[in-house]
Amino acid sequence: MAAPRAAARRRPLDQLLLGLAFVAPALLLNLVFDWYPMFDGIYRSFYRWDGYSTAVWVGLGNFERLLNDTVFRTALWNMAFFLAAAIVLMFPTIVASVVLFRIRHQRTQFVYRVLFCIPMVVPWLVIMLMWQFMYNPQYGLFNRLIEALGMPDLTQTWLGDPDLVKWCLVFMGFPFVTTNAALIYLGGLKSVSESVWEAAALDGAGPVQTFLYLELPLIAGQFKLNLIGTITAAMTGYGTQLILTKGGPGFASMVPGLYMYFSAFKSQKYGYAASIGLTLFLMSLVITLLSMRFFKDTEEA
């Protein structure tokens, strides 16, 4: 019995080594392509660096400058607007998922699920350019439609209007149903035991009550997951602004991410750009933690 016992003692170590060896490629790539650039970015944020020459240590200089940077401040306000809009606009996806879940007819549900998923395969860039075309004041769909309805005075310059531009960018998500998020919610609802719905039906819960007291609380976990994604995307994203408005008119749609990109590639201020990136990272971390804390408190209450 001694030999098998020795083998049994060795086995966990062997398995540990084997396990480590299997995760090594992923870990290595993760370290090189995710963690190294992140720490390098943090390091660079304390330097003045043009991307080529020797970097000059400036301590907290970049962050001090950021505090007094009016463009950055405008960008933060714009980001707050986009963040608030993104959180509010998470709800249509929840409602759509619940409606889809309630369709009992399997074939119909399948058809709707497919319809949900189709937009996912259209690249976001194509969708953006399509919206840009629709917003065009001279030949775009919206102004043409308004004119066709006999209200030419109501035509707008859309993306060219500093007061409208942010709303235009938010409206681009219409009808505000995100496929990935919808599938996550749907998965969550499907994992709930059938008996819960049956019990609710027996208790005489109506559709609104079922939604508020059962479906919504039951997908709270999925909501948290999607919320983190939404916060991160809204705080650090800038692709739409880069393609459609370049942050304009003026700085009306400038967001911190785009300002970071411009600071690096248009101003050659890589250190400053890194400090914007680090600030954004910290802000999105804090807001995510606060929202998680809020959920935890709500659950405990």
């Binding site: 060896a21 299997f22 490629p25 020459s53 060219g160 209007d161 300002y259 248009k266």
Partner: protein, 567 residues
């Protein structure tokens, strides 16, 4: 344990596979030129130094020697791709094919990236040490990358003979000769020449004119055969077009901001900075010090408020009322559509778009081109009333990656190809295909683009300072600030103060870096070393004389900066 070993062996294989896949990813799109072309240039620059600017080195090439027979792949990066809109790519391709036919060991790959994202790709390639050997660059890119030390100094190659040109030096084959490179020498800290001109001419004033719709001109009661020549006529024409319900000018939220500023701004402030400097830095030799003069004036706060700014800025703002509504939401790609679909009467662009616009417009409407109208004293007492002088304005073309210096055979092949490309024969073939201008003496001008040459009598302005205090500012900020100014969201005084502060800060950083140990002192030492090497090698008198001029010029520039900079 043997099972574990087997597992580890398969894991090692997997790791190798992953590493191989990772290495394959992320390369920029290339257009393989020859079927035998290797996917990665075998001699590609492993030593590109992203850090400390490299000193200009003696050219390692032997320009007159035929490239050795080892297989060489030269990658050429350009924004002119095989997309069918222009024939530039076809023109370059014809030349590379002909070169490969004569030198079968040399093949070419084109790296195509539209101007949008061009610099971003280039930046990452330089940092990664994978930038192509030959890189097409715009003027500002050349200055920037040359100062960063990542481009090969072509000074010695230019002053050597070329197997494709009769005469003592390659440089003499360019129209206007060595004098036309004076300006570009002063734009970098090495006093060197870092590019081979392309698609341009230093002896012609090739403007970036307006394409105009003659049918819409008629509709607005204007004579389409007599387009406006000065700004007053221009403004009247724009007003007439607007009154007729036509969009006068198609504008966009990208390059147009700089272009429109340039149309108005570079008609003010000829030799404006000369007042701050001693006579030896002005006059006929002034162009050699032009960039330093402007940097110094910006750094010293002397360009914060010039007397012509008021007129210049109010004229620019007035001009904006004739751009389509919502122009700040129109992209560069969308603006030409307004012209092509007959909604806008004018669109500014260069001769490079001539072929694609001809094809797109077809017979939808009658069109022509006219130069940007001049601002005379009738509009502003500060208006120059003429165009920038053509002489001394070699400004853009193909640069060579400094990394080729580590491979003499590759460097020799690159230089030899560039010399072939700028031979009379190759250029004549090229302009015939691309319908472009040539920087080389004796190359004919295609008839189709003669209309793009500005009137000779008006093309005499030199060292125009114009709106440098705006354009030399922070690129992340000035375009947005300019939009706010043009839209009336901020007043002129605030706009002027903000852009001036931004450009002053950038200029101070530049001047201080040039006065630091890595600046002129290092450049002068390196240039002197090159001179000593040339003398020791028994190089030609021409090369030695040219290098002596470089050293003297650098010393003078250093002296000027030391004398005039007030921290």
């Amino acid at each position: 344990m043997s099972a574990l070993r087997a597992d580890l062996r398969s894991l090692a294989t997997m790791l190798l596979l992953v590493a191989t896949l990772a290495a394959c990813g992320g390369a920029p799109a290339t257009v393989p030129d020859a079927p035998t072309a290797a996917p990665e240039a075998p001699t590609a620059a492993p030593t590109a130094a992203p850090e400390a600017p490299a000193a200009p080195t003696a050219a390692p090439e032997a320009p007159t020697a035929a490239p050795e027979a080892q297989p060489i792949t030269i990658r050429i990066m350009t924004w002119h791709g095989p997309d069918g809109n222009t024939a530039y790519y076809e023109g370059y391709k014809t030349l590379t094919d002909a070169y490969t036919a004569a030198n079968p060991n040399v093949t070419f790959e084109f790296v195509y990236q539209p101007l949008d994202g061009y610099k971003e790709l280039l930046d990452t390639q330089f940092v990664a040490g994978s930038a192509p050997e030959i890189i097409h660059m715009q003027p500002w890119m050349i200055n920037e990358y040359a100062n960063k030390g990542v481009l090969h100094n072509l000074n010695n190659a230019y002053n050597s003979t070329s197997p494709y040109v009769d005469g003592p030096a390659w440089i003499a084959s360019f129209a206007g000769g060595e004098d036309t490179f004076a300006g570009v020498r002063s734009s970098n800290k090495f006093g060197g020449i870092f590019f081979v001109p392309s698609d341009s001419s230093a002896v012609l004033s090739i403007g970036q004119p307006f394409y105009y719709n003659k049918d819409l001109f008629r509709q607005a009661g204007l004579d389409p055969e007599n387009p406006p020549q000065d700004w007053e006529q221009f403004r009247a024409a724009l007003a007439a077009l607007k009154d007729a319900g036509v969009i006068p000018i198609a504008a966009d939220n990208g390059r147009w901001i700089g272009w429109s500023l340039g149309q108005v701004g570079y008609q003010f402030g000829e030799r404006y900075v000369d007042q701050f400097y001693d006579a030896k830095f002005t006059g006929d030799r002034g162009l050699e010090f032009y960039w330093d003069k402007v940097y110094l004036a910006l750094a010293n706060g002397q360009l914060t408020d010039a007397e012509y700014y008021g007129d210049m800025l109010s004229l620019w703002k007035d001009y904006a009322q004739y751009w389509q509504e919502g122009w700040t939401g129109t992209s560069e790609a969308d603006a030409p559509n307004l012209f092509m679909t007959g909604q806008a009467a004018l669109l500014q662009s260069g001769f490079w778009d001539f072929q694609s616009y001809s094809a797109l417009i077809g017979d939808k409407f009658e069109w022509g081109v006219f130069p940007v109208p001049v601002i005379t004293s009738a509009t502003s007492s500060f208006g120059i009333g003429k165009y920038g002088a053509p002489a001394g304005t070699q400004d853009y073309g193909f640069t060579v990656n400094a990394a080729v210096e580590s491979d003499p055979a590759l460097a020799a092949a690159v230089i030899d190809f560039l010399q072939y490309m700028t031979s009379l024969e190759a250029q004549t073939t090229y302009v015939g295909i691309a319908k472009s201008f040539s920087p080389v003496v004796g190359v004919p001008i295609p008839d189709e683009i003669r209309g793009f040459i500005a009137p000779e009598a008006l093309a005499t302005a030199r060292e125009v300072v114009g709106p440098s205090f705006i354009e030399w500012g922070d690129g992340a900020i000035w375009p947005g600030l300019s939009q706010d100014f043009l839209l009336g969201n901020i007043d002129q005084a605030a706009y002027q103060a903000e852009v001036a502060a931004s450009s002053q800060e950038g200029a101070k950083a530049y001047v201080e870096s040039m006065l630091g140990p890595d600046g002129f002192q290092a450049s002068i030492a390196a240039a002197q070393q090159t001179l000593a090497d040339l003398q020791a090698e028994g190089a030609s008198e021409l090369m030695i004389a040219s290098q002596q001029r470089t050293v003297e010029n650098l010393q003078l520039r250093y002296e000027m900066m030391q004398t005039y900079y007030t921290p």
